[in-house]
């Protein structure tokens, strides 16, 4: 998938992290939201007081429900990782569905199934967005690397050209010594093209002619 440097804590500690993070997000976000709502809904001189009262009443509750969702999701996610022995987006999707279903289990099977579907779809959207962002980000990083790549491909070519050059050369010599048109042109074209390309590719560097194209013998790693 990618390097694991950017991933999160290993699985048991991940649950605690997620509970804490989710509670903090819910409490802070809920505080802001309920403060504004309380300020809006309270009478003239006591707006700030009304806002802080609303925060004291509601922010722990919002934080708690976020923490329950986050903790259950993380627990199911870790269970899926343990069962499948893989780290996938599918773990998150199934965990989201399981969390949604589990939290509505007391309302009966229909409500549970609907919540499970809702949770699964939500997580699938989040994971899909994450994957697309990852692809865009790594595609941007690959473009400057590709421009430099033809470099390593250049040196192997002249050796091939050098060998192929030997065989047409006697043919082109005999061709040019015979009457001008026809085979002279032909030999000249082939020999000239090969000479041109090899001269172009081997500018300054020597072309070596390999005896055969077999790979050198593989070293054996026996411990002596």
């Amino acid at each position: 998938m990618g390097t694991p440097e950017t991933s999160r804590e290993p699985c048991p500690d991940r649950i605690l992290d997620d509970i804490g993070g989710a509670f903090a997000m819910g409490a802070v976000g809920g505080s802001a939201f309920h403060f504004l709502k309380g300020v809006y809904n309270s009478p003239g001189g006591t707006r700030v007081l009304g806002g802080s009262q609303a925060v004291r009443l509601n922010a722990p509750r919002v934080g708690g429900s976020f923490a329950v969702w986050g903790g259950l999701f993380s627990a199911f996610d870790c269970t899926m990782v343990f069962v499948r022995q893989k780290e996938d987006p599918w773990n998150s999707i199934v965990a989201g569905a399981a969390t949604g279903g589990f939290l509505s289990m007391r309302q009966g099977l229909g409500a549970s199934a609907r919540s499970a579907a809702f949770g699964g779809v939500l997580l699938a959207l989040i994971e899909g967005a994450g994957i697309m962002l990852n692809r865009m980000f790594s595609a941007q990083q690959q473009i400057p690397v590709l421009i430099e790549e033809p470099g390593p491909n250049m040196p192997p070519l002249p050796s091939f050209m050098g060998q192929a050059q030997n065989m047409p050369e006697p043919a082109s010599v005999t061709g040019s010594s015979s009457p001008d048109s026809g085979s002279g042109w032909l030999g000249g074209w082939f020999g000239g093209a090969k000479k041109e390309s090899s001269a172009g590719t081997s500018s300054g560097s020597e072309t070596k002619i390999l005896e055969s194209f077999d790979a050198p013998p593989v070293p054996s790693f026996e411990y002596k």
Partner: protein, 190 residues
């Protein structure tokens, strides 16, 4: 020499914080002399000033304290709710009714206590990160001040006297916890 994060409390004693590592452990290799290496157990830094300044980040602090607080509050509240739910069983109850009583009681108490301790953990974590960032030291007094502040903020709505009492209680509790942890690390062979 590499400076480790805990150099200042253990007196730069590498052997007490090293992990012994044998690369050929469990393998049958005909090597006569096997070296055992001492690997560091904490991150190592090039400069002593940098090593001294590395601490828990504020986000780690928040997730740790809030998470532990919420989880412990929820578990304890759930257990006490379970007990009170079982105690409220009546003689003619069906199994479904009993399950309902137990779930309601434990859920209610668990959520309530989890929220309270989670909020306390959040306020404490935020205050401690803020005080440590302000003072740029690593004392026990940072934690005690954070405990004072947490108690005061938590009971601020009940009046000044209530806030002062709660702040004092919070400061004393945190001071006890921190000194207790340090004493345990030094004297208890775990």
């Amino acid at each position: 020499m590499a400076h480790t994060m805990s150099d200042r409390d253990q007196g730069s004693d590498p052997s007490s914080q090293a992990r012994l590592y044998d690369p050929y452990q469990g393998l049958q290799v005909p090597i006569p002399a096997r070296n055992v290496y001492q690997l560091p157990t904490t991150p190592q830094y090039l400069f002593d000033e940098e090593a001294r300044r590395q601490r828990r980040g504020w986000s780690d602090n928040i997730t740790f304290f809030t998470g532990c607080g919420y989880l412990s509050g929820a578990l304890c509240g759930g257990a006490s709710g379970l007990v009170s739910g079982v105690r409220s069983f009546e003689s003619g109850d069906t199994a479904k009714l009993r399950l309902n009583r137990v779930l309601n009681a434990s859920g209610h108490a668990g959520r309530a206590w989890g929220n309270r301790i989670g909020i306390i953990g959040l306020i404490y974590a935020g205050m401690e990160s803020g005080i440590v960032a302000l003072r740029d030291t690593d004392d026990v007094w940072n934690s005690v001040a954070a405990g004072l502040g947490t108690g005061a903020v938590y009971r601020a709505a009940r009046g000044v006297r209530s806030a002062a009492v709660a702040g004092a209680v919070g400061g004393v509790l945190v001071g006890l916890a921190v000194t207790g942890k340090q004493a345990m690390k030094r004297y208890v062979p775990l």
